[in-house]
Symmetry: C2
Subunit: 337 residues, 2 copies
Amino acid sequence: MAQGAPNRQSTLDEVAELAGVSRSVASRVLNNAPHVSRAKREAVERAVLRLGYVPNPTARALATRQTGAAALVVSGEDPSIFADPFFAQVIVGASAALEEAELHLMLCLAASDRGRRRVERLLRSKGADGVMLMALREDDPLARMAEEAEIPVVFGGRPVGLDPRWYVDVDNLGGARAATEYLISLGRTRVVTICGRLDTEVGRARYRGYQDAMLAAGLEPYPPEAGDFTESSGAAAMAALSARHPELDGVFTASDNMGAGALRTLRDAGRRVPVDVAVIGFDDLAVARISDPPLTTVHQPVEGLGREMARMLVALINGQAPTPLILPTRLVTRASA
Amino acid sequence: MAQGAPNRQSTLDEVAELAGVSRSVASRVLNNAPHVSRAKREAVERAVLRLGYVPNPTARALATRQTGAAALVVSGEDPSIFADPFFAQVIVGASAALEEAELHLMLCLAASDRGRRRVERLLRSKGADGVMLMALREDDPLARMAEEAEIPVVFGGRPVGLDPRWYVDVDNLGGARAATEYLISLGRTRVVTICGRLDTEVGRARYRGYQDAMLAAGLEPYPPEAGDFTESSGAAAMAALSARHPELDGVFTASDNMGAGALRTLRDAGRRVPVDVAVIGFDDLAVARISDPPLTTVHQPVEGLGREMARMLVALINGQAPTPLILPTRLVTRASA
DNA sequence: CCTGAAACTGGAAGCGCTTCCAGCCTTCCA
DNA sequence: TGGAAGGCTGGAAGCGCTTCCAGTTTCAGG
């Protein structure tokens, strides 16, 4: 028999009855609240064990007006943008931080219109205690919804044209500048860039960093050649750049995936890396270590991004007033530059 | 002014009052239930719009005993196992399928003991309408919990030593066999394998497939050299194998990451791929396309895995009785073999 | 032994929504 | 025109838990 396996969920009432106390006392015991005598506390604990009681989170949520969950919303046209390992790492960080606060993680991939409507519902119905919002593009309707939401919202990266109250970002500008400076310090003077989508703040900031470094060194920045952060877009952009600027001797790409694509194109064209062309990526994902040659890149604390977003959200939920955060990046030198 | 932004959430009672009907009628309208006259239905809809009313999901959950959420649980010692893009793709598939059923996705990374306890709680407290369980290792306590759970559980891949009632798996055995057969058909006779962890069913099945193909071709299978599916473990295993079996001319690796690692080791050792050694991976992740040379590999429908798990779960939640599913794999030939 | 404060206790009122059910009102046919 | 059938309606009873509050008990201090 042991602890009888109740086929029906037992309730707090049953626990209270078995323990010979009122429901209020039982509730207080479960919540570690004061004003319970030692004897009754133990009686309740025994009953809980005996019944295999587990509180019903929904009922608790209704009574406390706290759902016990936080949502991570990833916005974007193409759902497979999310398959990027980048997000997986963000999730790992966020998940760990939320676990510490005993919050569940809900994941919303707002790709379709339908998905976006669900997110709106979530925000307005308080279906979660707070929301982390990522990858907002220019004019993303989600941004407005978030501003109007009555629950805490933390942005991951700053959306273009908005200046959110709470966000965690990565020092994209500084990282891009450092990468470009490094290329220049290597003696490269004809440094181009494959930047990310210019309708994202990430894309813009990384291009600005490149510009800054070029100008500071007295070099003329090349116009942006944009990709969408994917390998194939990087390969295509590299081909275009090679055709347009055959003299180039350095490339800063705004993502490792694009960097890998660039490497592929250069290899296919018979240009040696780093001898003929030095290449630097951004992100420091696994692909940077695997590519041939391994990619010099700007490391960003991706897991840290998720963790800090979650922590900031938890702070907000607890009524504190955290300040925005910009996480540092750092150059990791490998063989490609 | 437009649709007044109520600073307090409006309730169904308020909607009913404004529409001049009872709460029951209002509820029926919101749920598209019958027995509501056209006039009242419209009155309620007007009131909803006017108040900007959004139903409270928690209250609804309590009343219907349905949470409106499904959980995806990923088990494993190391939380970063999850950073594998594999899971990201599973999530994309699952998310899409759940969206169709209007279910939210909860993500649980059960790495720590604490995480595992939370999952147990989730299962026992019916904190979700159903659960998808992935990456269970031998003797994973989660497996037992799942069997005892009173909510629908779908396994992603079959856990070692268990024969779950509902699961979606990939044809690992067939894929591995096809890969090995292909190497043999290329004239390779000294084919080794870098298999995955042998305490996972995936690892075992892929090794078995290799064995089958070797035996069927009258060749003696080499003993398993195990990695943990990561790039570095693949590199290490390749080094060990090269030392032990310098005669080898073909390698089947149980993951693309390990395949990439093997390529790296071979390159560093000056062995040409595919001339000296042909290499085949498994998974068909992005890395297989990016590696040099691009990796011939066994494609598995990762997103499909997530999608089908979610569909099966939805079917179970709806009281249907789906049958287990084994998704096909297919060889994708590239330059490495 | 009395008094007031402090510590407990349990009744009861919610949290916001669904759903059963009894009664009402149409509608339509004989 | 009467009456049965059936569509509508709203009252009320939950769903399982938290929490306020008033009442009771306990106990140190006088």
